[in-house]
Assembly symmetry: C2
Homo-oligomer: 218 residues x 2
């Protein structure tokens, strides 16, 4: 996985890394929708903290939440931040160390985030979040208390300044190296969702909603 | 996944989220060694960019590499940065939206990174990187060219200012909520390494080294 999310600048680089630097919205949305896990970069006390967080997309914006006392939410609106989503898809075993790589999908969003202050809108967003993870789950849960809503911060960021990079497929070795007698190939990696484990304290007779099985990642 | 990597401040919070904020080195090293994927936070042109990158640990330091022309490597040594490693282990389905959570392991490292300038040391580090992914692979590869080494930057950061958070186990609902008739449990998630796919351009008779099967993540 390369160090920079910049678009490729030269043809040789494009070839070597098999870049697909695609900025079309459909591709970006597909990556954003593939996982609930993002990493948010936010300057706190002069340090660019990287915080893992669940997030979700609704149309032209992404959202994430947390405790309103969290440091990130105190300073979020005073700076441009970065939200990065990345999915590892495989290890690319080349014939040289230089051409070792990985297959992956990644999106980087930049911009000024906003906190949602309207409690009704906040509840609606949280509902969308829960139901995105598991369809219809919000309606099955104990309804949210006002005090819970109050201490929950919901932030959002526009999908406008975005870059997307995707690498797929076989190793790309130097022409000369294809004659070198070293095995090359791809070791694919993906998320695996395992069978749900019911809580030991579930009420007798409670059945697992089939929608739980719809939770997907990757 | 919560928004902040701070240690828990109150007993109720500890209980509610089932925090294990552990800062002992053994635990931190175990998380760092579980995945090659990190996210580095680095201030570039005033924006806290979050860049996904492969990394590896050697003793008291972590390392990562990239093209020396990458923006990150130009400014890395002039600021404190953050390197975050996170592994998603499951979706925690509680009886209320407020207690929805995820099981995960995460480590956040802070500090001043250093670039390795000695080419011999750089090569040694890259060898360790490759052989950490696949034992003995470096020795099977076409030897590195000097010009390749020259354009490869290797950065390192001490595992000194580090925090680690791990959540495991069942949902932690409010006492009152255990009587609420909603299914609760955990949907485990993990990385799955699939069977290696040989490159179509492998030389005839080339066999896959068994060490390829030792690549693990998670």
């Amino acid at each position: 996985m390369p160090e920079s999310n910049e678009a490729p600048t030269g043809r040789s680089r494009v070839k070597r890394y098999n870049w697909l630097a695609r900025y079309d919205r459909e591709t970006i949305d597909a990556v954003l929708d593939a996982t609930p896990l993002a990493h948010v970069g936010c300057l706190i006390d002069g340090v660019p903290f990287v915080t893992p967080t669940f997030f979700w997309r609704e149309g032209d914006r992404v959202y994430w939440h947390g405790h309103s006392a969290g440091r990130m939410f105190k300073v979020l609106e005073q700076q441009d931040i970065c939200l990065t989503v990345s999915l590892l898809d495989g290890l690319v075993v080349a014939r040289s160390a230089f051409n070792f790589n990985c297959n992956y999908r990644s999106v980087m969003l930049l911009g000024r985030a906003e906190l949602i202050r309207d409690e009704t809108v906040k509840a609606e967003k949280l509902r969308n979040f829960v139901n995105r993870l598991i369809p219809g789950e919000w309606e099955r849960l104990r309804p949210m208390h006002d005090r819970e809503l109050k201490v929950t911060a919901v932030a959002s960021l526009a999908v406008s300044e975005a870059s997307c990079k995707i690498r797929t497929g076989a190793p790309e070795d130097n022409d000369d190296d294809y004659a070198f007698p070293s095995w090359a190939g791809v070791v694919p990696v993906r998320y695996q969702v395992l069978p749900p484990e019911p809580d030991a304290r579930n009420l007798p007779g409670i059945e697992m909603p089939k929608d739980i099985l719809k939770f997907r990642i990757g």
